[in-house]
């Protein structure tokens, strides 16, 4: 049985005919929609590399069946930069060297953007660390990540709110 699935991805409405209900949101993005920014590190919700926002909330795309987000708004790393200019979190990750190999980075950034939406301005580094502990980084770039998110939060709250 083919299911029809409509969702908005990075602001663009897409209708997908899905012949297999087993397809996760992550595999839909990566293998069928060509959006490979979200990464598969564990496929079990244990690493956070697949983090995307669904209706503004950060989730593990690997543990989300694509059919369950029918009608939702999905934001991936590819949709974060606007008009060619980086989101403040992205820019801060570069400035603070908040990554090395870069594989966990899309998930880290989406998680950070989601965290800001959940928690508001993030001044306490301890809350940033806890809030991003669902995103593993084997290279060990946590110091730069925490600094980047704190900096970006300052910039964003100065403008009157998170992304």
């Amino acid at each position: 049985m083919t299911h029809s699935l409509t969702l908005t991805v990075n602001g663009e409405e897409k209708t997908v005919a899905l012949d297999d209900p087993r397809v996760t949101l992550l595999d839909l993005l990566r293998e069928r929609l060509g959006l490979t920014g979200a990464k598969k590190g564990c496929d079990r919700g244990q690493c956070g590399a697949c983090t995307v926002l669904v209706d503004g909330r950060r989730v593990n795309a690997c543990l989300t069946l694509a059919l369950t987000v029918d009608g939702s708004d999905v934001l991936t790393i590819e949709g974060v930069a606007r008009n060619g200019s980086l989101h403040p979190v992205q820019a801060a990750f570069i400035a603070h060297d908040g990554f090395q190999c870069g594989f966990c980075t899309p998930g880290q950034i989406m998680s950070a953007i989601g965290l800001m939406a959940e928690a508001g301005p993030l001044d306490d580094p301890e809350r940033i660390r806890e809030g991003l502990s669902g995103n593993l980084c084997r290279c060990g770039a946590y110091a730069g990540i925490t600094e980047a998110v704190r900096d970006a939060s300052k910039i964003l709250s100065g403008k009157g709110g998170a992304a």
Binding site: R44, G48, L65, T68
Partner: protein, 352 residues
């Protein structure tokens, strides 16, 4: 993952009809079911997506003061509800100590009650597990079992229930509202999860096809709000299941304990209510001596199921500690590291 039929009912009746099909499984947050479908431990033929069902996503204060939390309320949503967190702070703290920000956004209250043990042998279809496949044996016995049960286990199964949320729910005498083909019914929280006995595959009071609709918290529980904490001992500072956890709630009257509630997590196949310890605390001065006695009583019947005797002493200490934290008072804000022994660490330097 085995092939399955996906159905997304929009009414409860449709859901129950779909749930009555052979090999059906209800899907809500998916954080546990989908994971087990990937390891092969669960192979449903029909996945019934109940996330669009109406009326299961609300937090409602009932006329009698009880609070009803719909089964589809997400963990993060409940923890972030300021009125709820003020009324039931230990529940909020337990919610925030669980899993990760992403998973808390996905996981639901009902799914949390129904989540499976994290025993490695359960998740692995190639291992013997009476809980997954009755009669195959238990590879955890004599295998890797340092984090397994010390209370209420049987020769057939030594698994633990991994939930944080369920620990303070047990302490609150919550009631589980269930709907099913035979209508609606209620089960006291303490009777919802089953100890393994000879039938470890029967993990809850839920009958086939039934759905958890809501959890009702007695309004009386709000009286504990000034003295309610959750403590979770972990092998990582965050994003790890409990080695042992404990919830404590106290009503104090001029330094003496008027009422106490204690439950433990990670020690048994269900959240473990420590009734004898609670009773012994009533009328006592709220001091460390009383808390240590409560810890002893809470684990009085504990015995190791393998290389895990340390969890008995750890459980005693966790109970004593969480009682002390509760007596000291619920903090105004959730700690940066909820339920952590390092929770109140303040002024930690930013990286240099």
């Amino acid at each position: 993952m085995k092939r399955f039929a996906y159905v997304r009912p929009s009414t409860l009746d449709e859901a129950l009809a779909a749930g009555a099909r052979p090999g059906a499984a209800y899907l809500a947050g998916g954080t546990n079911l989908l994971d087990l479908m990937k390891t092969g431990a669960r192979r449903p033929d029909v996945v019934v997506d109940i996330t669009r069902l109406p009326d299961l996503s609300a937090v409602t204060v009932l006329e009698d003061g009880d609070v009803r939390v719909g089964a589809l309320v997400r963990n993060a949503t409940l923890a972030a509800d300021p009125a709820f967190a003020r009324a039931y702070p230990a529940i909020a703290e337990a919610l925030l100590s669980g899993a990760s920000g992403q998973l808390r956004n996905m996981a639901t209250l009902g799914g949390n009650l129904l989540q499976e043990t994290r025993c490695a042998y359960f998740a692995d279809p190639a291992s013997a597990c009476n809980r997954r496949r009755p009669g195959t044996g238990c590879d955890a016995r004599g295998g890797e079992n340092r984090l397994h049960a010390v209370l209420g286990w049987s020769e057939a199964c030594i698994a633990t229930h991994p939930s944080d949320l369920c620990v303070p729910l047990a302490a609150h005498d919550a009631v589980v509202e269930i709907v099913g083909p035979a209508g609606a019914r209620e089960v006291p929280f303490g009777e919802f999860h089953r100890l393994p006995g000879d039938e470890p595959q029967v993990t809850t009071a839920l009958e086939p096809g039934e759905i958890v609709a809501a959890v009702r918290l007695p309004g009386h529980g709000k009286a504990f709000a000034p003295h309610a904490r959750y403590l979770k001992v972990r092998e990582r500072t965050s994003y790890a299941f409990a080695v042992v956890s404990a919830a404590a709630m106290l009503r104090l009257d001029r330094g003496r304990i008027a009422e106490a509630r204690i439950a433990l997590g990670g020690v048994a196949a269900r959240p473990w209510r420590a009734a004898a310890a609670e009773a012994a605390l009533v009328g006592e001065v709220a001091d460390d001596a009383a808390f240590h006695r409560a810890g002893e009583l809470a684990l009085a019947e504990a015995r190791p199921s393998g290389e895990n005797a340390f969890k008995i002493e750890l459980g005693r200490r966790a109970v004593a500690r969480v009682l002390r934290l509760a007596a000291a008072g619920t903090p105004d804000f959730a700690p940066a590291l909820p339920a952590s022994p390092f929770a109140s660490t303040t002024g930690v330097a930013l990286h240099g």
